[in-house]
C-alpha cells in the first residue's frame, strides 16, 4: 500500500537529510583536516585559516620525519607487544571467568562471582593501586600495564551473556560423555560463542591501542613508551621540535605542525581502517552489554 506523502512530510524528509549531512560534516571535518594537513607543507598550515580540505603544497615531508623518528617506531613496537600479549591474556582469563560464572553445581560460584562483580562498584583508588604495583616490583615495566588491564569485568559480563545464550543441554550432554571443563570450554562453548568472543577481543584491542594512562604512571623510560604516550608528548607537551634537528627555528616550528598531523594519522588510521568492516561486531557488543529488558 502506498501512502500519499504530504508536503510537510517531504519538507521534513528534506530537512532531515540535510541535517544529517551537516552532522556528518561536523564529524568528519576534523579528520579530513588532519589527513590533509599531514600532506601539507608546515609553513602553509601555519598560514592557512579554517579547515584544510585539500593538501597545500603536497608533500610527504611530515611522514618522512615522523617515520624517521625512533620514538614513533619504539612506540609502535611497545603498543603492538601490549596489544598482542595483552589481548591473549585478556581472552584466556575473560573466557575462563565467564565460564566459571555460568557453571551450575559449583559450591563457591556465588562468593567468587560476587568478588569479581563487586569491583565494578568499588575500588581502592588510584594511589593504592599504584603503590601495590610498585610494591610487587612491576614499576617501569610494560607488564604493569598488561597486568592492570588483564581483565575488564564489564567485558567478562558480556562474555557470560554470550555463554548463557548457548543451550545448557549441549554442555550437559558433553559432561555426561565425560568431557572436562577445558574440553567443554574450548570445544563447545567458545566455538559457539565466537561472535561474542570477537566482540570482546575487539573491545580489548581498541582499549589497548588507545590507552595511555597506566603507561604514563608506571613507565618512566621514554624508550618503553607505548604509541599514545609518545603521541601525548608530541601533541600536548609539544616535543615535536626534537624531530627536526638541523633546521632553523622558524623551520622547526613549521615542520612541527606537519609532523603533529602525520603522527595522528599514523596512530589513528589502523583503528579507523578496520572499524567499518567490523562495525557489526562492535555494535553487537553494545547490544549485549546493554542492560537486558
Amino acid at each position: 500500500m502506498k501512502i500519499k506523502v504530504s508536503w510537510q512530510q517531504r519538507l521534513f524528509n528534506c530537512f532531515n537529510v540535510i541535517f544529517m549531512f551537516l552532522l556528518m560534516i561536523v564529524m568528519l571535518a576534523p579528520m579530513i583536516h588532519v589527513v590533509m594537513a599531514s600532506f601539507s607543507e608546515g609553513q602553509e598550515i601555519l598560514n592557512s585559516k579554517g579547515i584544510i580540505f585539500w593538501p597545500k603544497n603536497f608533500t610527504f615531508e611530515a611522514y618522512k620525519r615522523a617515520f624517521g623518528n625512533s620514538q614513533i617506531f619504539t612506540g609502535y613496537r611497545t603498543t603492538m607487544f601490549i596489544l598482542i600479549v595483552g589481548c591473549s591474556i585478556n581472552i584466556v582469563l575473560t573466557t575462563i571467568g565467564a565460564y566459571f560464572m555460568t557453571r551450575k553445581d559449583v559450591m563457591f560460584k556465588k562468593p567468587i562471582s560476587m568478588l569479581m562483580i563487586f569491583t565494578m562498584f568499588f575500588s581502592g583508588g588510584l594511589i593504592p593501586l599504584y603503590l601495590t604495583i610498585k610494591g610487587i616490583g612491576l614499576n617501569g615495566s610494560v607488564w604493569a600495564v598488561i597486568l592492570v588491564g588483564a581483565i575488564s569485568t564489564y567485558n567478562m559480563i558480556i562474555m557470560r551473556t554470550g555463554f548463557d545464550s548457548i543451550p545448557g543441554s549441549l554442555v550437559e550432554s558433553a559432561a555426561i560423555d565425560g568431557a572436562g571443563h577445558l574440553k567443554i570450554l574450548f570445544s563447545i562453548l567458545i566455538p559457539l560463542a565466537m561472535p561474542t568472543l570477537a566482540v570482546i577481543t575487539l573491545y580489548y584491542a581498541v582499549g589497548h591501542w588507545n590507552s595511555w594512562f597506566y603507561a604514563s604512571i608506571f613507565i618512566d623510560d621514554p624508550k618503553k613508551y607505548p604509541l599514545q604516550l609518545v603521541l601525548r608528548g608530541i601533541l600536548l607537551i609539544n616535543e615535536s621540535s626534537y624531530m627536526t634537528e638541523g633546521a632553523s627555528d622558524s623551520e622547526v616550528w613549521a615542520a612541527g605542525e606537519g609532523i603533529k598531523y602525520a603522527v595522528i594519522v599514523i596512530a589513528t588510521l589502523p583503528v579507523l581502517c578496520i572499524y567499518p568492516f567490523l562495525q557489526k561486531y562492535f555494535v553487537k557488543g553494545v547490544m549485549i552489554g546493554a542492560v537486558k529488558e
Partner: protein
Amino acid sequence: MRTPKTSTVTAAKKPFKERFLRDMKKNYSLYLLILPVIAFYVIVHYVPMYGAIIAFKNYSPAKGILGSAWCGLKNFKEFFGSVYFSRTLINTLRISSLGIVFGFTAPIVLALFINELRSRAYSRIVQTVTYLPHFISLVVICGLLSDFCATDGVITDICVKLGMERQNMLRVPEYFTSIYIASDVWQTVGWGSIIYLAALSGIDSSLYEAAKIDGANRWKQILHVDIPGIMPTIITLLILKMGSIMSVGYEKIILLYNPLTMEKADVISSFVYRKGLLEANYGYSTAVGLFNSVINMMFVVSANMISRKLNGTSLW
C-alpha cells in the same frame, strides 16, 4: 524463594565438610582454571582496597602500609577543610551534570532523526560516520582540541566570527566546561545512539499504521509512538547515568587542563592524581580517593536499586 535443583537436594543435606570434599573432587580442575582470574582480582583490586587504609595513616614509603602510624581522620579533615574540597566537588558536579544534560539527550535526538531517514543506505552511512569518533583515542582528541582552540585555531576562528575575543580558549577557565562537554558529545553521540536505534527498531509497526490511520503526521508519530516506545530504555539508562554523577574520569581532564584553568577544571579524580602521583602525598590523596569511591558506590548502588524496582533492569 529458591528451589534447589534435584541434583543438589541430596548434597545440601550433607554436612559442609562432606559437600566441600565432594565439590573439590568434582570441580578441582575448574578451581585450578579460575585461580589466575582470582589472582588478578586479588592483586589489582583487593590488595589496593586493603591498601586504602593508608587514608587513615601518616603514610611514609619507608615504613610501608603496615608500619606507618595511624592518624585517624586527619587526612579527611584536611581535605574537607581545604579550598579544594568545595572546588573539586562543584567542578565534578557541574561537569557531570552538564554531561548528563547534553551527553545524554543528544544520542536520543540523533537516534530519532536517523530512524526517520527513509533511505536505508543513507542511514547506514550516517551511522558509520557518527560512530567513528568513538574509536579515536583521548590523546588525539585532546591534541586536536589544543590545536583547534589555540589562538589561531579553527574553533577559535569560528568563535571570533561569532563575536568572541581572539585568545587561546583552553586558557580561559570559563570555557573549559563547554569545551569538555562539546567534545564529549562529538565523540559519543553516535555510539550512544546505537542502543536507542535498537529500541526503535523493536517498536511494533502496527502502532505506526494505527497512528497513520488516526491521522498522525511524522512529528506526531515521533511524539506518540517513538518516544513512548523507547521510554523504558531512556529511563533505565538515565538512572544508571545518574549513578555515575560523582565520577568524572581523570584522563581527559588531566590531558586538557592547565594551571590557568584549574579552578574550573580540577575534579576530584584529577586532584587525587595530582596530589598522589605528582606530589607523592599518598595518604592524603588516598583519603580523597576513598571519599570519592564511597560516595560513588552509594550513588551507583542506589541507582541500580531504583532501576531494578522500576523496570526490573540493573547492571548486575
